[in-house]
Symmetry: C2
Subunit: 256 residues, 2 copies
């Protein structure tokens, strides 16, 4: 998976990135929830100003550290994570282009997890005051943010359930399908094919296994002809086959 890292961003026309294109991905994401007026769209584009480059493996927020700004992911993949005393890391959620990652803990207590770039990222720091101003004046945007948050919570529940119930094969296919579907939703990939700049170790920390086991599981998936992860690209070849693969050890129904 080394090299060949596709940028995980829209192809830009011309060599210089146009200043407007950065915010497009946020608009694309939120417009999936609520119709947005032209005014809403330009206001959202303002949030993507002040974008900064973040190399892979760099922390955006450390555990225990407070912040007064949110992050908007423009390119690349970041994550929320927790690390324990022994150095093991669990990834809680993936942050893909178009995701706005709030760092609000409402002064409840210490910030309890970290945020880090998994691949090289372009992010924009959005001061919370600016965010609140936007919310106060653009009800459609507010509603879209609310729905995006609810969706993130639903994904988190799904993730937790998968960790508790599913074997490694299904946990892995779920994560990979989730990434593809989310990228597809903001127009950054086709329906069955996307760049995937994650290492097998990253995937292992997503699904709570060792990287060795991820490797073997990926081989199993390749052999089954259902998906393929090679050279930094993910290809899902047979979605129906995936479900069959995951369900095919299912015991007969519990009773009656």
């Amino acid at each position: 998976m080394t090299g060949l890292q596709a940028p995980l961003a829209r192809p830009r026309n011309g060599t210089a990135p146009s200043p407007d294109s950065a915010g497009e991905v946020l608009v694309a994401r939120l417009a999936g929830f609520v119709p947005l007026s032209p005014d809403d769209r330009t206001a959202l584009s303002q949030l993507a100003r002040r974008e900064t480059y973040v190399p892979a493996h760099m922390d955006l927020v450390h555990e225990g550290e407070a912040t007064d700004s949110a992050f908007l992911v423009l390119e690349g993949i970041a994550c929320r994570y927790v690390e324990n005393a022994a150095g093991a890391r669990q990834i809680l959620a993936l942050l893909l282009p178009g995701d706005l990652c709030d760092t609000d803990l409402g002064h409840l207590t210490q910030w309890d997890h970290g945020i880090a770039a998994l691949s090289p990222c372009q992010v924009a720091r959005v001061p919370r005051t600016k965010l609140e101003g936007l919310i106060a004046t653009h009800p459609a945007v507010t509603q879209a943010f609310r729905l995006a948050k609810l969706e993130a919570e639903a994904r988190s529940r799904n993730w937790l359930a998968a960790l508790g119930i599913c074997r490694a094969t299904e946990r892995l296919t779920r994560v990979l399908c989730e990434i593809l579907d989310r990228l597809h939703a903001v127009g950054l990939s086709g329906p069955s094919d996307c760049p995937l700049p994650l290492t097998q170790m990253d995937l292992a920390e997503c699904i709570g296994t060792s990287s060795v086991h991820v490797n073997r599981t990926l081989q199993e998936l390749r052999r089954s002809g259902t998906m393929e992860l090679k050279g930094g690209r993910l290809r899902i070849l047979d979605r129906a086959g995936l479900e069959a693969l995951n369900g095919h050890r299912r015991p007969p129904l519990p009773n009656v």
Copy 2:
């Protein structure tokens, strides 16, 4: 653990429960976040009207079903859960007395998980309109709800991380300590001793293992002298010993 089910509620003076006592536990919970005025307190007590009894294992909200009211748990233990096609169940979060469980999905999509009583419960259904009325008029209560939600999210992240990183022993001790601490926080137990009306199967569905393994893990904990779960009561005898138990297989620090 059969029989001897302590009611998991404040001892009431006299035989007839006084109508006000029901809401006390909600006030106790929220007052832990924000100082509440007498007016706030009486308003909160109103929410506990219309309490209903729910037998163990009964669903409060089915997967896929929408609701226009929230639940307030007054007595007993309920949970959010997900069930897969094979009949396996993963518990996402525990709902203890004083917890207000919103069922708002904001019309995002279908309700994606279920809510069920694990032990016999007293719950109050709170119409969403009533809740919104309260929020509009009592800022301190609003802030307390917000903080309670943030705390629940933090717990959910912790839970997810534990599933991914920790062995069964630590996952189990974490859940048990969490229950004790939360009950203690609302005055329903001492600091090291509480009623625990859950089966080993329930605990298994919390930590993502089989009930057989929960049984053996509990025996290990009993033998170690750190905690004891017997006759529906949980006793934590040695918190420091617990951490030592969980960390005692810790490898030397990763690098340097």
